[in-house]
Symmetry: C2
Subunit: 291 residues, 2 copies
Amino acid sequence: MNNLSFEQKQQWVNEQLIHKAEQLNLPKPLREAVFYSINSGGKRLRPVLMVAAYGTFSNDYERIVDMVVALEMVHTYSLIHDDLPAMDDDDLRRGQPTIHRQFDEATAILVGDGLLTYAFQIISTSSKLEAEEKVYSISELSKASGFEGMIAGQYMDLKGEGEDLTVEQLSRIHRRKTGELIRTAVKVGAYLGGATPPQIESLDEYASHLGLIFQVQDDILDVTGDEDEIGKPVGSDASLDKSTYPRLLGLKGAINKRDEYMALANQALKDAHVENSQLKDFIRLFGNRSH
Amino acid sequence: MNNLSFEQKQQWVNEQLIHKAEQLNLPKPLREAVFYSINSGGKRLRPVLMVAAYGTFSNDYERIVDMVVALEMVHTYSLIHDDLPAMDDDDLRRGQPTIHRQFDEATAILVGDGLLTYAFQIISTSSKLEAEEKVYSISELSKASGFEGMIAGQYMDLKGEGEDLTVEQLSRIHRRKTGELIRTAVKVGAYLGGATPPQIESLDEYASHLGLIFQVQDDILDVTGDEDEIGKPVGSDASLDKSTYPRLLGLKGAINKRDEYMALANQALKDAHVENSQLKDFIRLFGNRSH
């Protein structure tokens, strides 16, 4: 697995997701909606990141399959619910109709609820993990995606539209909305791989910067990106009157901010003594991506 | 606890729910919505049933607190999402505005998502249960409330409106929509209390009948109930063109069906050799309730 390219790892994640969804016995239209949601061409950044964190310490990739699938299911659920009319009201996601547009709102709510719940079912019934490992994984995943993590982040993001935020407030929202799940990918991956507690701590620091790199670059792309590549209209955040890094710091200031986080992430990797890990690639991947 | 009345146990459950919600650090309006949702006067049937199943085998009630709270949070989340405009579109629940009416739809979706996730966080971080017990509890709870349980039940219930169902199809929907979580209350309660595997099996049978008793009586009350007591207009299911037991079997047939399930539940309790348990009271409680 360590020799696989990013695209090959994406492919592996896709296969595992489909395999788990195939095990569900569901009414036909609900089943179709589940497959639609997991076949939506996601970049699989979080699961591939988890694989890289795990692979830094262990080569026994079969052990982490269930956790990887669970992580991506939680991410998928969050996108489905965020896209709902009462939330961000998005008709398209990666150029395809969102679930509530392709099917209906009730189906979108239920598929989201189901994927979230299935994630915990998959981890708790995994034949590959010890009870202690399952408990650790579930507690980290539920905290990151729960009230004080992703939920509060999405709530503050929604309610903060049109308000003037400081850079600090903006970072706080993003840390919760997207950062916590990225940290979970690294932290649980490293833990299950067998990292030492100080290594986990440094890697958590790394992941925390990675989350902010991701978000700053997202905001930069909203200004400079190619519409076809990013899959949504350029300037759509600005038109929503959303606080973004370029808006608060200027485009040059935002780029400097991103580079600053990239340097901090590199330093944290050095502190974890895993400099040759594939985790290093993710700093460039998140910081230089064009979509 | 065994000496407490049903009302005193309800009170105990309420206190534990509030205690757990108080531990959350949330933006103020989101926090208000969480407290509104758990202070909504629910009957706490599932958690009190779990306490009764547990208490049949153990008196150390502190051990089961976290699981009891998690169970009721999952039930509460399911009501919040079921009430949404895209689902059952209910403005009132127990005579009070539903969350999306009192706050807004986005808040209702997020509070539901948050309660579901918090349930798994509470169990996985419990200081009172062993890792193996947590894993068992999480797997049972996630299966019951997941795609093949509650979610499929709600989906089939929603999409089945206006369709003519057989009694068998109707039972199948209710087994999933409400039955699975009632079974979890009994099964996990008995397991954590220390029941033997054959006892758990018989009690699961008991709980399965209990779920159907609950649903048949619900449908009977929709025909014969007192509007103030049941908290929704009499005949509201019939007006939605929903299949109900009285509609399929006649009122007398539905009452016979309920009594049949009550006899089966009593027999299952005998098989489990726990006839003197408080679980016996639940058969009458579910079968004779007036709201």
